[in-house]
């Protein structure tokens, strides 16, 4: 019974990781490196878009990813009764 609960929690955690890490890969390796030449044809103000992702955008997204993760996990902990504050 307890073990079932833990398994569910872990699987949901893995699902979050898969989604967040896909975004992590997309903004850095895909936008900032693999597709940089194509994205550089698009401009935002003085920035070429690919260059902007490589030197600015990816970092902003990284920060957001961690804070989204914190939020999701805190919610998940509560849902499954793994929240330490309420213990």
């Amino acid at each position: 019974m307890v073990s079932e609960n833990k398994k569910k929690y872990w699987n949901k955690n893995l699902k979050y990781l898969a989604i967040l890490l896909s975004i992590w890969f997309l903004v850095s390796f895909v936008f900032g490196i693999l597709l940089v030449a194509e994205l550089n044809l698009i401009r935002i103000g003085g920035f070429k878009l690919g260059f902007w992702f490589a030197q600015q955008g990816a970092i902003y997204v990284f920060v957001m990813l961690i804070f989204v993760y914190i939020k999701l996990m805190n919610k998940l902990d509560k849902e499954f009764g793994f929240n330490e504050d309420e213990k």
């Binding site: 890490l21 850095s28 490196i33 490589a54 600015q56 990284f62 920060v63 929240n83 330490e84």
Partner: protein
């Protein structure tokens, strides 16, 4: 007041502050010495992690590197920040739940083997020593340029300061000095960035300013691309490295960041799992402030440098030019004897060599900012170098006193004895680091960048598999770590130090640079670990239970032996 007087004042104030904090937060138990007692708040830990992480390389060298490499420099920006996403999502919460003092502790217990522990101790020492030598060099550089003392004296002063608070305070002392050091270094980095951004683009925020335009409405990046084309350099926003290499270097830096023991150990200092996640978030946010401003500084200083020197009379160069010439970090050779400075990509015609490391330090002078700003940058650079050096020294001392002595050689050592050994190990480590700072062997500069490859090739897979694969056993992890680190060492020695027959860029396997090879060695580690583990028996039941247990955040308890 002159730059020198300002520097003495600011360096004096900040050093007094660090020493004061060290005295206030002395460590009296091993727990305080290794993990600051385990009760650091997430914000304080985020601040300390950020300072721990941002080294002389981030503060002094990175913007300069980007300045000279343009788009290619993006590998550092993405690599050294993206690793925190991996840390926060894949490592920090579980390692905190595991609740031990060091990274070799985790490897040794999870893989129920002192062989695994020894391999981990070896990797931790190798990575940390290569890294710390570069920090002491950075301290010496700042002292020699701004305080006009001998570079060796500078290193010794830095050693004494670090010695004082790392040995006295352990992790507790380091944590709270790092909080102060973060504030000093970020202030010192951002003030000149904001000044110059206003000067060049009228925009208060450097991160936006470098996408802005000058007074003639020409975008700064377009202007720089044009200047680069005219002088024969690769276009700033395109770079010249192959896509494969950029990809692999970025990956090696990211996975290496997530595998660096001095960063990981910071997450052992918070109270609970949720706090470990939160402090990773704060850490990256605080790091991102510097990392998004650095490429702006790169563009400003590159443009400023070219406009100040290119085709200008040597005799009319401003004062900073001569000052840096004295240190040998700017060299001018009037090849065609016309009295003008030709700064071009063609090595035969180029007359000016500018060391990458001086861009951040010289930037405020090049832009003509007030003297106190120049001095502030010096104090900031020292904060960055000292905070990282201290964090690394603690990993070294803990690896010796805790993992080697307490866990393997003499398990009966008393708490007091262990603490004494830890302090002695820190003293020895400072001296070794200082020695390398004063007599930098050629390989130091090369290996600092490669420390990431080593960390990625050794620790990252062992830790990840230890958490995410219950079936991973000691045979798999040990063979993976050994093959990974040997492969990385081999490639590095062959192509960086010319051993094993050496080789040039043309001989690189598939055009992969030694910096990017860490990713390949890491993949090899993963594959070998998984294959070997399949053929060997599953880990004992207690170990599988440990893995089950670290996946659930509740009941983290306190870090224990």
């Amino acid at each position: 007041m002159s730059i020198q007087v300002w520097t003495w004042i600011l360096v004096g104030i900040t050093f007094t502050l660090y020493i004061g904090i060290a005295i206030w937060s002395r460590a009296v138990s091993t727990k305080e010495f290794y993990v600051a007692g385990g009760g650091v708040s997430p914000l304080a830990n985020g601040l300390a992690t950020a300072a721990d992480w941002m080294s002389a390389a981030s503060f002094i060298s990175m913007a300069g590197l980007i300045s000279f490499n343009g788009y290619d420099g993006s590998v550092y920006l993405m690599g050294w920040t993206g690793g925190y996403v991996l840390l926060a999502l894949l490592l920090a919460p579980y390692l905190r739940k595991f609740g031990k003092f060091t990274v070799p502790d985790f490897i040794g217990d999870r893989y129920y083997s002192n062989v695994a522990r020894s391999v981990a101790v070896f990797c931790a020492l190798l990575v940390s020593f290569t890294y710390v030598a570069g920090q002491m060099r950075g301290v010496g550089l700042v002292f020699s340029r701004f305080l006009e003392v001998d570079i060796n004296t500078g290193v010794v002063i830095g050693m004494i300061i670090v010695l004082f608070y790392a040995v006295l305070g352990g992790m507790k002392g380091i944590t709270y000095t790092q909080v102060a050091q973060y504030c000093v270094l970020i202030f010192a980095f951002m003030v000149p960035a904001i000044f110059i951004s206003i000067q060049m683009t009228g925009n208060l925020i450097p991160q936006l300013g470098f996408g802005g335009a000058d007074e003639n409405g020409i975008y700064l990046l377009d202007k720089l691309d044009r200047l680069h084309r005219e002088l024969g350099f690769a276009e700033y926003t395109s770079g010249s490295k192959s896509t494969l290499d950029v990809f692999l270097i970025t990956a090696a830096l990211m996975f290496g960041t997530a595998g660096l023991p001095h960063v990981i150990v910071r997450f052992f200092t918070v109270k609970k799992v949720a706090d470990a996640r939160k402090s990773a978030g704060y850490a990256l946010l605080l790091i991102a402030i510097l990392y998004t401003a650095a490429p702006a500084i790169s563009v400003f200083s590159r443009t400023n440098l070219i406009e100040t020197v290119s085709n200008q009379e040597y005799k009319k160069m401003p004062e900073w030019f001569g000052n840096w010439e004295k240190t040998g970090l700017i060299q001018f050779d009037d090849k065609n004897k016309d009295g003008l400075i030709q700064y071009v990509a063609d090595a035969k015609k180029n007359e000016l060599i500018v060391d990458k490391d001086i861009m951040v330090l010289a930037n405020p002078e090049i832009a003509g900012l007030p003297n106190w700003v120049v001095a502030l940058v010096a104090a900031g650079a020292l904060a960055a170098a000292l905070s990282t050096a201290a964090g690394l020294l603690l990993v070294i001392s803990a690896a010796v006193s805790h993992d080697l002595i307490k866990k393997m050689i003499n398990p009966n050592i008393t708490e007091k004895g262990e603490l004494l050994v830890a302090r002695l190990a820190a003293v020895v480590a400072v001296c070794v680091a200082g020695y390398f700072g004063i007599h930098p062997p050629d390989f130091v500069a090369a290996t600092v960048a490669l420390a990431f490859g080593l960390a990625a090739a050794s620790f990252f897979p062992a830790i990840i598999l230890g958490i995410f694969s219950k079936r991973m056993n000691s045979e798999g992890a040990i063979s993976g770590m050994i093959i990974g680190i040997l492969l990385m060492l081999f490639y590095m020695m062959k192509f960086k130090f010319d051993w094993f027959g050496g080789g040039t860029k043309e001989d690189w396997w598939f055009g992969i640079s030694p910096e990017g090879f860490g990713t390949i060695a890491m993949i090899a580690n993963f594959i070998i670990s998984i294959i070997v583990s399949k053929f060997m028996k599953a880990p004992p039941k207690e170990v599988m239970e440990i893995v089950e247990n670290i996946r659930i955040p509740i009941g983290a308890g306190e870090a224990t032996h």
